[in-house]
Symmetry: C2
Subunit: 330 residues, 2 copies
């Protein structure tokens, strides 16, 4: 294993020190592993909190800022944050209008967010929760009951964050967050495994000419292994899975997401094929994003996420955002 780390025990806190040094717009509690907007809490604004295992950067800490999250809680690598982190984040961003928890559907995350919501609730913070479960690949997995949450998390955080910024009440922000999740679907493909620092070796083995279709963001198995083939055929398999689950039509937001170890050059090749697929189905490529956003450490591969837009969702997507990893309009 070759990694740019000081020790396997300090990976997350060392990275948080770097995050703090790189982004004065954030207030980072390195010891407790909570990343806040520097100006949190904002009085009267619904606070947005997300979190999950580290190793998916820039998710979630890279999405903390104006128009998106108010706080993020990174757990250890591929490990849920603990309730104490989530409580500190929740209480720390409550400006009196309540807090939305955005939770990817993994068993540990769900339990710990639930406990935090109850305990913060006991302290008088109103908490609503949206569960993100956009991955069509598998019904259950090593880490989940039900579908896994992947790329749509970014859409939920961006769009709900934009609505919260307008001063909308918690019920509205939660409603739009759930709507984004309901209208989103994802599918991932791995060309290589992922190596967790503490494990020191690849999570799984893939043969030289082999890919994993429907991979999870922790290296969980997908639907099947298959021989490596042309990008356009791999994309067709991924898009068919998405389209079979929720037929593509109308204005569509598309994320072509790198898993962390795949060059941007290849992601654009994938994006070209995704765009061609949408055109073939008569859907409109209305908004798009290409890059490494919801990663799996050094894994090679990509995921594609679609969201069927409404006028409201488009307007909220377009609204200004200012975070380390997503920024426009200011």
């Amino acid at each position: 294993m070759k990694k740019l780390i000081n020790s396997v025990d300090t990976v997350v806190t060392d990275a948080l020190r770097g995050l703090a040094a790189a982004h004065p717009s954030l207030r980072v509690n390195v010891a407790d592993k909570v990343v806040f907007r520097a100006d949190a809490p904002r009085p009267g604004k619904v606070g947005l909190v997300s979190g999950g295992g580290s190793g998916h950067e820039p998710l979630h800490a890279g999405f903390v800022g104006y128009g998106m999250l108010d706080a993020a809680c990174p757990g250890e690598v591929f490990t849920s944050p603990v309730p104490d982190q989530l409580i500190e984040a929740t209480n720390g961003v409550d400006g009196g209008a309540g807090v939305l928890h955005i939770v990817k559907n993994y068993t540990g995350d769900v339990l710990n967010f639930q406990m935090a919501a109850e305990l913060s609730g006991d302290e008088g913070v109103e908490v609503a929760t949206v569960l993100v479960n956009d991955d069509v690949a598998v019904q259950d997995s090593l880490y989940t009951a039900g579908r896994r949450g992947t790329g749509a998390t970014l859409f939920v955080e961006k769009i709900a964050g934009a609505l919260a910024e307008t001063g909308a009440p918690l019920a509205d922000v939660a409603r739009v967050a759930r709507e984004v999740n309901d209208r989103s679907r994802s599918f991932g493909v791995a060309l290589s495994s992922v190596t967790v620092p503490a494990a020191g070796k690849p999570t799984f083995e893939l043969g030289e000419g082999e890919i994993e279709l429907g991979i999870g963001i922790h290296g969980e198995p997908g639907r099947t292994r298959a021989p490596l083939r042309e990008a356009r055929e791999i994309v067709r398999t991924a898009m068919d899975a998405v389209n079979d689950d929720l037929p593509l039509s109308g204005d569509t937001l598309v994320l072509v997401n790198g898993m962390g170890g795949t060059p941007l050059l290849e992601l654009y090749i994938v994006f070209a094929e995704v765009a061609a697929y949408l055109e073939e189905k008569g859907a409109t490529l209305s908004r798009r994003l290409v890059g490494n956003y919801v990663t799996s450490l050094d894994m090679q591969g990509f995921s594609v996420t679609t969201c069927s837009l409404t006028d409201e969702l488009t307007r909220l997507w377009d609204a200004p955002v200012e975070t380390p990893a997503l920024r426009w309009g200011r």
Copy 2:
């Protein structure tokens, strides 16, 4: 070799189709491999043209847009663009105020840009050239006479682009571009080799516990191989090389750049150590950027680039920019 491609012959053009589909703010001539700002040429504005081998994305095409480049010419992977591409770009962005060529110091690039400058000059376009040669690792290399151009290219393109946007004349834009290069230094480290699609195998071999210090962005050899060690020690070696060449002091712009295959988590760990190093030297971490900007396909590793800022350079760095890969202020 596992890559998300359709064929080794269409890697660049397939990616350009994706770039065009992803970014309506660009006008992409896929066949000729020239990427323009959609609104080029801008009357009265100095045009900025850069280019180089593909495989370093988002450099350069990802930096085309308001406040940065007017056009970029991607060559084949790790291969200079040809003069015809550069002439089309140069003539296509000339709004009557002349054109600045931003050229990384590699022999093929230098020759082809020079030829294009002469031929566009014959057609009445005034062309100035800035050579970027910020890499302190080696004096000459497989691809260069003199120092290689790497991370400072981004600084030059951003800062000169901001000045050009104000309507400054060509001589001023060229002056500031050279000043940025003169004040910038870089050093790169590889943890793994790079695999060029057409070659199908890694460019070089690194042992399991081995790293290459002073690596080039095409996998050219650096200063030496060394055992893998803690991130803070690797960073110290890199920063010592930079600091020995141009002592760090005052307001400093820092880029910690991923080579393409390194997780963002690790880049932040590197950034924390870079920030500590600057503090130790009494320099001020004034502006910063962390991410994959000047890559080498799937190589694992990082480079660090510093630029000693003046008030003018800081102001131009902060000015609005709107490109696929770098955006703030609008």
